[in-house]
């Protein structure tokens, strides 16, 4: 670690599995960790969530039928217990995933509304929430304080002379922890020094330096 030593540790073991080869539940785990580990709002994993909801729905129907059926054997009841345990686990993951996004969306709501480039990373519901939230917040600020201030102090989207904006936006310089599932080549650090992102290595560095590898799934956020 901290420097050269430690040998890249190319374990070459089971860590090789890329996201695409995982089952939905484990993929959701990776997606959730990534959302938690980064400052920016990642792309909404709509397909994954839809597929998980479909499966949860099917499971729920199956559970309901089997539970109401008096002929269900003891063994089936036992299986149902396990199935339901897992459903709760998956639901917890989905909840936490959505809440993490909601937290980011509310934090950056105004930025989201005025930046069309980030709209594709949000689901429809998320985008309309961002819009309504911003509107609510603004109306509230106006009614409670701003309307009683002189006109020139009422703006909420000013950029001060030192470049500091009133609109908070995601900071891409915040470091992220990544684990390279594949060899991500070499990158150049801001101070001009190179850093090799070999397979199986772990790094803490600025998000914008490795954004592409994270989005490709080659680098896993920890």
């Amino acid at each position: 670690m901290f420097g050269e030593g430690g040998g890249g540790g190319d374990g070459g073991d089971e860590d090789e599995t890329l996201e695409g080869d995982m089952d939905d539940v484990r993929r959701l785990g990776v997606v959730w960790v990534r959302e938690r580990g980064t400052g920016e709002i990642m792309s909404w994993e709509g397909d994954l969530i839809d597929s998980i909801f479909d499966k949860l729905d099917q499971q729920q129907k199956m559970v309901d039928t089997l539970r109401s059926d008096p002929d269900t054997s003891e063994e089936e009841h036992f299986k149902l217990m396990l199935v339901m345990t897992e459903m709760e686990r998956v639901k917890y993951l989905v909840r936490s995933y959505v809440r993490t996004r909601l937290w980011k969306i509310e934090k950056f709501s105004q930025y989201i509304v005025i930046t069309p480039e980030v709209h594709p990373s949000l689901s429809g519901a998320e985008l309309s929430h961002a819009r309504r939230y911003t509107e609510l917040l603004h109306t509230h600020f106006q009614h409670s304080v701003l309307d009683s201030l002189p006109e020139w102090l009422r703006k909420m989207d000013e950029t001060s002379s030192d470049g500091l904006s009133m609109i908070p936006k995601p900071n891409k310089n915040i470091p992220v922890l990544i684990y390279c599932r594949r060899d991500c080549g070499e990158i150049t650090l801001p101070d001009g020094e190179p850093a090799a992102l070999g397979k199986g290595s772990t790094h803490l560095l600025k998000y914008n330096l490795v954004e592409q590898w994270i989005k490709l799934g080659w680098a896993e956020v920890l």
């Binding site: 670690m1 901290f2 938690r36 998980i52 345990t85 937290w103 915040i174 790094h203 803490l204 560095l205």
Partner: protein, 195 residues
């Protein structure tokens, strides 16, 4: 708030344990059951005395109902851990590659299924020693000069849990260093132009 404050800095040990529970482990069931299909895959059939692989959460759930014996992972044995501890102490420049979630897995297994492990008390203290040796190395590593390059740190061999313990501190430290850096460059620039 959508996300409670204590969760905003990163994953908590509980959440990491939750992830560790998705990993697969061997059990020897003490009951018969046909295959079971859950969202993450199909497991079983359960036919004693042959072993089968299930996710850790399922193994723990079965264990709590006294329906199985958990087969200890290959690394969770006294001799193996003693060897790992020795290697860890000898390897001063880096960290040994350990199973990614050995702390979490070790802890839940020792808590829920100590009777399936050989010499659980000794295992517990070995795991603790191993963790402390690594923590000491981390502290030492962070003290050495030139480690914090402002915005980059290579941390091979550490497990997610160990990294999570460090992350809030490191992210903050890097933030501080980043605010200091541009000024340093400016000053250097001045120095160069004046001479």
């Amino acid at each position: 708030m959508a996300l409670p404050k204590h969760l905003q800095h990163g994953l908590t040990p509980d959440e990491l344990t939750f992830l560790a529970e998705e990993e697969v482990i061997s059990i020897v069931p003490s009951f018969s059951m046909t295959k079971i299909r859950v969202l993450s895959g199909v497991y079983g059939p359960f036919v004693p005395p042959s072993s089968t692989s299930v996710p850790l959460w399922m193994a723990l759930s079965l264990k709590r109902k006294r329906k199985c014996r958990i087969v200890a992972p290959e690394w969770l044995q006294v001799e193996r851990l003693q060897a790992l501890l020795k290697e860890e102490k000898e390897n001063q420049d880096g960290f040994n590659k350990l199973p990614r979630r050995f702390i979490e897995t070790g802890k839940v297994l020792l808590d829920v299924a100590p009777d399936d492990l050989h010499l659980p008390a000794q295992l517990r203290s070995l795991l603790k020693d191993l963790r402390e040796v690594r923590q000491a190395k981390i502290r030492l590593g962070l003290q050495s000069e030139g480690v914090m390059q402002g915005s980059y740190l290579q941390m091979n061999g550490l497990t997610p849990l160990e990294l999570m313990e460090l992350k809030p501190f490191l992210v903050k430290a890097m933030g501080v260093l980043q605010t200091l850096e541009p000024r340093k460059e400016e000053r250097d620039g001045y120095g160069a132009s004046q001479t």
